[in-house]
């Protein structure tokens, strides 16, 4: 039977939050499991393991992605940022600060994914990427609340902290802009 078949292992190098890790993993392992179990970074959460909730969101090569659907071996050599890597030392990122100030969580389980997703999403907006609610996809999108809700729809929150999350993303976007100006 399948369960008796011999596991296959492969070498894997990942740069996580700026630190290089050399590992040997089961080819079946997801990036999420490697981050949590082999590297010991448990900030990224497992909600559904099927791409449906966003709790496992990390940045791979700067782009937000669901670590639960990523085969770790398929990302050999990649740079990964998890929620543990968003702050600059003790200084929280503008998005992290905004989540605290806007009560954007209750239990906090979805929060690491929300933070990574919002961070990646704001970069997408900076690069002029449209969304499903952008009325004219040939124009530059303007980040209003409808845009925020649509762009964050891959992150579910079972506590229903959505109102705070939208406010936090809005505030985080403004303070990022201020910091860049």
């Amino acid at each position: 039977m399948d369960s008796e078949a011999t596991p296959v292992h492969a070498d894997l190098t990942l740069v996580v939050n700026g630190r290089e890790h050399r590992l040997n993993v089961d080819t079946r392992a997801s990036l999420l499991d490697v981050l949590r179990e082999d590297i010991g970074l448990t900030g990224s959460k497992k909600g559904c393991d099927h791409g449906q909730c966003g709790a496992c969101t990390v940045l791979i090569e700067g782009r937000r992605a669901n670590a639960c659907l990523a085969l770790a071996v398929a990302h050999d050599g990649a740079e990964v940022v998890t929620v543990e890597g968003l702050a600059d030392g003790e200084r929280l990122s503008p998005v992290q600060e905004a989540f605290i100030e806007n009560d954007a969580f209750q239990c906090g389980y979805c929060t690491p994914g929300q933070l990574c997703s919002a961070t990646g999403m704001l970069d997408e907006v900076d690069q002029g990427w449209p969304s499903a609610v952008t009325a004219d996809v040939s124009t530059e999108p303007v980040l209003d609340d409808d845009e925020i809700r649509e762009r964050m729809s891959g992150n579910l929150c079972r506590c229903g902290a959505y109102v705070g999350i939208v406010a936090a993303v809005r505030a985080g976007a403004r303070s990022r802009e201020a910091a860049e100006a």
Partner: protein
């Protein structure tokens, strides 16, 4: 999950050589890894094709675009040429999945994603598509989201891709590399109806590699609309990719394809025929929609899709008429 070997292909030739007939190509993994975790797909060998140099959207001399199979869904929707020349394609991609999934998903993988029929995804249940000859419980069971057109006694599943619906309306061509060389297949011939072999979604043979999708110049306004059970991050109940060219109040050219209604993106050729040369009015749009949907054979619990599709056709064409 069954153990598997993982290899990263460096070129199309390399990918074809590594494919032993039973291997699986890997794009972003957002469908394949999910189905492996459910036990629906059980590859022993995975050949990663997401790093092949097919990662560009190129402008063709005829004004169309050639989209590499490894281009991510996000990069396709963000591409300037596509957003300006083929807005319905950008809109269709953006209507699918989530920002995270679109960053991982590739164009090749999107075309080949499998149906979301709940029996197909549950290995404890029979399903002709997953296990040929075992039966189709959806016909008598849970099928509110399944097909109303082109289905068979063997399978009533729908194809889930939003992108493919826009590609069907755009007369896209799928570029394929196989053992026997390269070939180009129009997207309408690429996807199959289930007939008595629902295990085959497409005309691809084992080992065939998709290298690109070619989209000819459109040159008229277009739009993608999707009706679903929640406003975002859900598959289509019914969707439409439409394009309309009106001159002097008459329809000069029109393209219509429906999603969520059949085993493949449904190009509405009858409606298009009824419309060409007809006045661009809601009455004519309704008559065309009815001509297309006269063939519909809804199941016990999905007859709602017929009026839904009709209204979507009429509304979307009316909107396009108003902007053209």
């Amino acid at each position: 999950m069954r153990p598997f070997t993982y290899e990263r292909a460096t070129s199309a030739e390399d990918a074809l050589n590594r494919h032993d007939g039973d291997a699986y190509y890997l794009g972003g993994g957002t469908n394949l890894v999910d189905l492996m975790r459910l036990g629906v797909e059980t590859p022993a060998r995975i050949v990663d094709v997401a790093h092949l140099p097919y990662d560009q959207v190129q402008l063709n001399p005829d004004g169309g675009v050639l989209i590499g199979a490894a281009v991510t869904n996000s990069a396709l929707a963000a591409d300037r040429t596509v957003r300006e020349g083929h807005p319905m394609l950008a809109q269709a991609v953006l209507a699918g999945a989530s920002g995270q999934i679109r960053n991982m998903a590739t164009v090749g993988g999107n075309l080949l994603q499998r149906t979301r029929c709940s029996y197909f995804q549950d290995i404890a249940k029979p399903c002709n598509k997953r296990d040929p000859g075992s039966g189709c419980p959806a016909i008598e069971g849970e099928h509110h989201n399944l097909a109303i057109l082109g289905h068979s006694q063997a399978c009533v599943a729908t194809h889930p891709s939003d992108m493919a619906v826009a590609l069907a309306a755009l007369d896209a061509l799928v570029h394929i590399r196989g053992r026997a060389g390269a070939r180009v297949v129009p997207i309408e011939d690429f996807y199959r109806l289930p007939d008595d072999a629902p295990e085959r979604d497409t005309v691809l043979d084992p080992g065939d590699l998709i290298t690109a999708v070619e989209v000819p110049l459109l040159g008229m306004p277009s739009r993608y609309r999707k009706v679903r059970e929640r406003a975002s991050f859900a598959f289509a109940l019914v969707s439409i990719a439409a394009s309309l060219d009106v001159v002097g109040g008459l329809v000069r050219d029109v393209r219509l394809a429906l999603g969520g209604v059949a085993h493949r993106p449904w190009r509405a050729r009858r409606a298009e025929e009824a419309l060409r040369g007809a006045p661009a009015t809601p009455d004519a749009f309704r008559a065309a929609a009815d001509a297309e949907l006269a063939e519909a054979e809804p199941l016990r619990d999905n007859a709602y899709k017929v009026p839904l599709a009709r209204n979507l056709i009429v509304q979307t064409l009316t909107e396009l008429e108003e902007t053209s």
